[in-house]
Symmetry: C2
Subunit: 755 residues, 2 copies
């Protein structure tokens, strides 16, 4: 639905509007005049992408296994570079050399109470032509697992999160010297072996339970989209929440001549052997475990009694890897800016799959390529981006965001000077727009989503997004979505894709977008993530591929040509206030919990409710939680709110005056450092690579975001003194942000006002 | 722990108490002097019950199948009668003649897409001697199923509750002409075929899913306590929420000469054939269903994709029953009262099992017998109950509370004149005391629970009960249990055991008690509910059998000899206020839900969030919910509160004055009608047999209670006018209760005060 139709509908709804006088308000960051021109180009842009071309690109790129180091990935890099060039872009391949382990030996067998040799191999399906490309496929493994040869009792640890180990502790069960078996889910996979190792385990198996990812969800492939019994989710277990990228070159680009760590000093490589397996392989081993029955929430969909162990089941796991330096190929394509060539609007999607990677990542990359083709078409028609548009196709994402991290580290200084945005996608599907990123970009995402048509409903992408929030949100979210708030909220960035080095290491304004939420399936990181699967069960018409290209391309073009960068800081302030409130609630909740536990210990409640047939360990008495000083953060937020309001007024006034004699380069130069100002010079505790004061992946969640992470994780660990220290540092970062906005307002107001 | 030790412990905790001056306060309803004597007899009583005797009784009574109509049940009735007589009680068998269907023909087979003949038989286990008594066992069936011979597509309906049919409606799926398959759980079993029939189904299968009741819970029998793959939960599907007991004699005792309905006019007999099956029999049929995948909450523990259908699976179900008049034997034993022989303190547990019935019901009956033996011992030592104690062992409970209902109907007038309490148990296990019943008995239950020692912790039964509330309750419950409220709350009575005719039809003060919550198992209503199972996996030491005998016996003795019946009405008032608040919240919640649904329909939210690949039916627009007049109920509650406070003061004053010249017979005569005053003359809408204004089993929950049922069920049905009418009737009942308490206060105050 375009805007004029929307207004017509409004007038039917009882609001009398004179159609002739209705003008779209100018786009943020544009004058009335430049806005009109921009809208015309955007409209032309959105008419260009074609589903059939997106489909054909996907077919070609997913035709053979295309993992890091594979021959076809090298071919694809060349192909993608050449496609960019054919669209009229400058494009180059940048090569790095990274440590990439591939299996030399994989043995998994149960040795007691009975012998069982695991299959650890995904069968070829006649219905799926590419599933038979055995010689080129990576076998089932977890990259950056440790080498090892261990035989030990098996212990089932549910998802293997820290909370699951609390349940083990309650039952007096240790995993010391054991091999744990965890199911996928509940956290990012790399957390499972890390926590297991920290608890003394000597090995780790990770399997896909059919309740979460198999027959209980629906028909399995090839009949339906879900994971078949021998399907395996491969995946990296590199300790990315410490730092992503090449384990040997933290903080610097993995160029040929980079200084490298010894492998033994690379802390992001797991210390114990880790192996992903299918539920067909897991079942006999899980069934053989004896000991106490797993709690209800731990039980999956296999027809067995889930028990914790350790007990009768003993497993032999032997893994050895080729630890080789491997060439990595990133494609970097540019459409040079006409006015501000040294301001870069960037956008990327990775190019490497775990095997053929049709859904992950190529369904996103093919939209990116279609955007590039469409912009090339516009360029021929005379359109010029004011800023340089930089499109990337990353290699090595699957193994630790390697291609993006090495490139970002390599070009860090330049990026911190030039980048005004990094927009990421990573695959695509049918459904609803998901958006997460820097919160001063929230308004921009909302504005663009209002201008793109949803393929399934014919309404705008924004309208469908709003409907989802109203339908699924709590009372507060419903009220906001219904107009209590101008824009729909975007989420904060954790990790799990290539945006991480940009937002969390360099402080580049960042977004991550994609469509999804309809359909589903279980071929993630298996040989069945194929063109056949995608065209049968995912975005089969590629209309969501087109919608993604339209959404992202519009957003890139609007950012590229804005006179003042279209950032809106009030939404950042409001969101950060929410984080502060959450931390207060977290402190209060933990305080109440600990007080309650101690009280129950005093009262003898825990002893009195114990079943002597199933005795549990009483919880530990903990020190009561002190009150914490939130005033510095709250003062900083108050001050940032004032700065943001002042900037907002200044910006509006300047735009209304047609930006006459404003030093735009200076304003935009300040604005683009909006995330950099919020970086912490020394980074987060125990992981200095992660520098953002507001957003980080959790050290024990892996992908899941922790906002105000320094303070929040200290609270998670009940380190209240550290939480206080971190709150002070966060306040400092927010104070810098406020100062930045005053500076930008000064330029816009052509004066020098002390905040 | 006895009371003096408890006080000693208190003094250690810092409260300095002079041990010599500590006296237990008098028991409620007793003077200081009579209280002391009572405590001594209670102490002697609790020393008598012996676990080994309880065990031996269980062994004998469960030695052969003992269902209604079986030879061994007749033997047991004689045996139990004779045991009572040997303890010094008067005991008789009362015989009724009731309609009891047993299977003539049972056929269950899948006829498409493949042929599968269900086993419908539980295998003999060599580990369990009584499992092999095939010739005496009832086969697997649901009593009061309809006769029928149907072949139809199979539809999976989850638990088969009304809410589950809402989910079917959303998907546009009808069960008209189909056979439904529901899993056990979520409601009482009889609801499943009733709702299925109301939706047009022609047959109903009910199976035990291994997630709820099978291998996912733990080791299956005989290795562990849980339901094996071929185990079947038999059970009655008589429409008991309309009226329980013999379907042919509603409201009157099923004596030989009673007037009987024609079978075709008996509305409590199901109209369609219903059959309980094992998960081994269910699996191939469920797996063959095609059509949409069941929602996540519907998926059980079988290794299949749960689908709803209708689709490929077609089933043939043929059931024919012998509809025979069957003799039923209740045992009624009495220990005559010395002072008020026409006031009866009653206590019962059923005697019939579905097969051998070791846990259900005999583990409760053997405690009752041990109480009777202990009271007989005391009688020999000179103890005399002031009121007549009446102990019952019921027949035919399993098929519809038949023995208790027919006896209660038969003796209804006498009971309404004489009964001061009916206390029910129905089996027993390890763990925590569960209590439910008339809320003016809450204080009495709490007082007794403080005087009985818990076998596993050595503390009092009350202390462990309190610990459970603190450990599992919400903040309000925790605060109350910690002393914010003098007593722990007891639950309201729904249905599912023999208390129903007493409380809900006759208005007798009623309690239902039992220990449980530890261990668990899945042999309910199967041939494996045996002495072998019980002595391996349940209360193996029979110390909870003893604790039940001690608790119940103390409670019976204390009631039998109280000078003023030990009722405390403030707790009734407070509880009823809670029900009124719940109804307001229910109305407000439904109002908000309907308004929200209508709003989302207006906004197009529902259309905009629909996945076109999995379309759902939009919800129906409903009329907005009117506000409802709660003032009559609230006024009645206010007035009852005043009456209760006045009664409480009058009672304390009279006791303090040693009950000098109080007409106790008159006071007690009033008090014992406390529930009768709250009966509704015409009963509940559509089910006049159920007369209590505060408590009833839900018409669509079966066992689960609905409090203030007339109003609550009207609200459940969105019949707001009916809800108003019912609130007025409830207010009337509460007004009568208030008038009763004023009358009792008048007698105690020896004056005649107008309220």
């Amino acid at each position: 639905m375009n805007r004029s139709i929307r207004y017509a509908a409004l007038s039917f709804a009882g609001v009398v509007l004179m159609a002739a006088t209705i003008e779209d308000p100018p786009l943020r960051g544009y004058t009335a005049e430049s806005s009109k021109a921009q809208r015309e180009w955007e409209g032309k842009f959105r008419a260009i992408p074609e589903p059939s071309r997106i489909r054909e690109s996907l077919r070609i790129l997913s035709a053979r296994p295309n993992h890091l180091g594979s021959p076809y990935q090298k071919e694809n890099a060349t192909r993608v570079r050449d496609w960019f060039r054919s669209y009229g872009w400058q494009a180059e391949i940048e090569e790095y050399s990274v440590l990439f382990p591939t299996p030399k030996e994989r043995v998994l067998e149960m040795v007691a109470p009975t012998k069982f040799v695991a299959r650890i191999d995904e069968p070829v399906l006649k219905e799926d032509a590419t599933s038979g490309q055995k010689t080129e496929q990576l076998p089932t493994y977890n990259s950056y697992s440790g080498d090892g040869d261990v035989t030990a009792p098996l212990v089932y640890v549910n998802y293997g999160t820290p909370a699951d180990y609390d349940e083990l502790d309650k039952r007096g069960i240790s995993v010391r010297g054991a091999i744990v078996i965890a199911r996928y889910g509940g956290s990012w996979r790399g957390i499972k072996p890390k926590v297991a190792y920290e608890h003394g385990a000597v090995g780790c198996l990770i399997y896909s339970d059919p309740k979460d990812d198999g027959y209980l969800q629906g028909d399995v492939y090839p009949v339906g989209p879900w994971r078949p019994k021998d399907g395996v989710q491969r995946g990296s277990v590199m300790d990315m929440p410490v730092y992503p990228g090449d384990p040997l070159t933290p903080g610097v680009g993995a160029t040929a001549d980079a200084k490298r760590l010894d492998i033994k000093d690379a802390v992001t490589i797991m210390k114990i052997p880790v192996m992903p397996i299918s539920y067909a392989d897991a079942q006999p081993m899980l069934a053989a475990i004896t000991g106490v029955v797993a709690p209800e929430a731990w039980r999956g969909g296999l027809p067995i009694t889930y028990r914790i162990g350790p007990g009768a089941a003993r497993v032999h796991l032997k893994l050895a890897f080729n630890w080789k330096q491997t060439p990595l190929y990133d494609v970097i394509a540019k459409l040079p800016g006409s006015t501000w060539p040294d301001e870069w609007v960037m956008r990327g999607n990775h190019m490497d799959g775990w095997v053929n990677g049709a859904a992950d990542p190529l369904s996103g990359l093919v939209a990116e390529l279609e955007e590039a083709r469409a912009m090339g078409e516009l360029y021929k028609q005379g359109w010029r981006p004011k800023r340089t548009i930089v499109y990337m196709a990353w290699d090595g994402e699957e193994h630790g965001l390697i291609g993006s991290t090495e490139w970002a580290e390599h070009h860090g200084d330049e990026l911190q000077k030039k980048a005004v945005m990094y927009l990421n996608t990573d695959g695509n599907g049918r459904g609803f727009l998901n958006a997460e990123g820097s919160h001063y970009l929230e308004n921009l995402v909302n504005a663009v989503a209002r201008d793109v048509t949803d393929p399934e409903t014919g309404g705008s992408v924004w309208k469908r997004w709003q409907a989802a929030v109203i339908s699924r949100g709590d009372a507060k979210a419903k009220g906001e979505a219904r107009g209590g708030r101008a824009d729909l909220r975007i989420a904060a960035l954790g990790s799990g894709s290539d945006y991480t080095p940009f937002i969390q290491h360099l402080g580049i304004p960042t977004l991550n977008l994609g469509f999804g939420g309809e359909g589903g399936g279980g071929v993630y990181h298996s040989i069945y993530d194929s063109f056949n699967w995608y065209t049968k069960f995912a975005d089969t018409t590629f209309t969501y591929g087109r919608a993604l290209a339209q959404t992202v391309g519009t957003l890139i073009m609007r950012t590229a040509n804005a006179e003042v960068l279209p950032y809106q800081f009030d939404q950042l302030v409001e969101t950060a206030r929410g984080y502060s409130a959450e931390l207060k609630a977290l402190r209060d909740g933990e305080a109440a919990k600990i007080a309650e536990t101690n009280r129950q210990l005093d009262e003898g409640v825990i002893a009195a409710t114990m079943d002597p047939w199933n005795p549990l360990q009483p919880p530990k008495r903990e020190a009561l939680v002190p009150n914490i000083d939130f005033s510095k953060v709250d003062n900083a937020l108050d001050s940032l709110a004032r700065a943001s309001q002042r900037y907002e007024r200044a910006q509006m006034t300047a735009i209304a005056a047609n930006l006459a004699s404003i030093a735009l380069g200076q304003v935009n130069g300040l604005l683009k450092t909006a995330d950099q100002e919020m970086l912490l010079a020394d980074g987060l505790p125990k992981r200095p690579w992660f520098k953002h004061s507001l957003y980080a992946p959790g050290l024990y969640t892996g992908y899941g975001v922790k906002t105000m992470p320094g303070a929040r994780e200290a609270m998670d660990n009940h380190d209240w003194a550290m939480a206080s220290t971190q709150l002070t540092r966060i306040a400092g970062a927010l104070d810098k942000e406020a100062a930045l906005l005053h500076k930008a307002a000064n330029v816009l107001e052509k004066k020098n006002v002390v905040p």
